[in-house]
């Protein structure tokens, strides 16, 4: 039987007690698991908004429908931005675990820029829709659309602020365990947002165009 004892930043294998006697898990596991639970509850919230959108999809009240409004080209670009930023976020977590400051900053910068381009594309799309009179007050369908896509966009915006704050913490505090735990939570958040976007482009942009 082995138990992992965290001493500072290093892990050693030592003979230890049985699982029931091992004591509480490390803080990284507890924090990560707690954030995992939060993310799942956040996804349940997204599910309710998805359900509202799916129910109200055809409630256009004589206004424009998804087929007329959605631009697949812009949706594909947004998907590419978010997917690539999820990838660079993964590279950033690798750089963090190997303590490479320069690579961490570079990966974080690319992640930030890709996330910001995603938001810019989405803002452009929203502005274009509102300009042709298809704002959230036009129909139940558009209310649900702006709620769903806007809620995801707000999450991305919050993630960008979080990423900037985390890079400031890395610069000032270095790779302390507490900073690393926060970075772990950030990467979980960012990957979860990409999973929400997978459903979003499938349900809103692709199924909307098919129907």
């Amino acid at each position: 039987m082995n138990i992992i004892v965290a001493v500072g930043d290093e892990f050693h294998h030592e003979p230890g007690p049985s699982p029931s006697e091992a004591g509480p898990a490390t803080k990284r596991i507890v924090v990560g698991y707690g954030f995992w639970i939060f993310l799942l509850s956040d996804i349940v919230m997204f599910a309710t908004i998805f359900a509202a959108y799916a129910v109200l999809r055809y409630a256009t009240a004589g206004g424009p429908s998804g087929v007329e409004l959605f631009n697949q080209y812009s949706a594909a670009l947004e998907t590419g931005c978010l997917l690539a930023s999820s990838y660079t976020c993964g590279l950033m977590s690798l750089a963090i675990s190997s303590r490479q400051y320069a690579v961490t900053y570079l990966a974080a910068l690319i992640t930030f820029l890709l996330g910001a381009s995603f938001l810019a594309l989405e803002a452009h799309e929203f502005a274009g829709m509102i300009a042709v009179g298809a704002g959230p007050q036009r129909s139940a369908f558009l209310s649900a659309f702006f709620m769903l896509v806007g809620c995801h966009g707000l999450h991305v915006a919050a993630g960008l602020i979080w990423l900037a704050v985390m890079m400031a913490q890395v610069a000032i505090k270095g790779f302390r365990p507490i900073v690393e735990r926060r970075l772990l939570c950030f990467s979980l958040f960012w990957h979860a947002l990409d999973i929400v976007w997978v459903w979003l482009f499938t349900v809103v942009y692709l199924m909307g165009v098919v129907a």
Partner: protein, 131 residues
């Protein structure tokens, strides 16, 4: 890797910080994930635009593709595995998926049923005229 007694933090590639294993295998995992996700996204966009398939089945096909891509993200980006150190993470995820499925499928079923049973507007007008 020996039998670890602690769970693995969600998102961690392994319970130990594998310095000796290096980051090259980690990069490979993320790159495979990106590659698969790009392929699945490409297929989704193609399926939505092609006229090759029966139109009624496209929504179902897109749903299957989205589930597959969600799996790719979970395995390659969030490092969810079936290992014993991941049981807690997987159980929480399974509960989340259950609630999400109940909310979405339940809402769709109930609202579709209500729509079906709704009296057409013309009939409703008739009923009001009789009084």
């Amino acid at each position: 890797m020996t039998d670890t007694q602690y769970d693995r933090a969600p998102g961690d590639a392994s319970a130990l910080s594998d310095v000796e294993e290096g980051t090259s295998s980690g990069v490979l995992v993320y790159t495979i994930g990106l590659f698969l996700a790009v392929i699945l996204t490409g297929i989704s966009f193609w399926v939505a635009n092609t006229s090759l398939f029966w139109a009624g089945g496209i929504s179902l096909g897109l749903t299957v593709l989205a589930i597959a891509q969600m799996g790719v993200h979970l395995v390659f980006f969030l490092h969810v595995t079936t290992g014993p150190d991941n049981t807690n993470n997987v159980m929480a995820l399974a509960f989340g998926v259950l609630i999400v499925a109940l909310v979405v499928v339940g809402s769709l079923l109930i609202m579709a049923d209500l729509n079906d049973n709704m009296m057409p507007a013309a009939e409703l007008m008739n009923l009001q005229m009789q009084h």
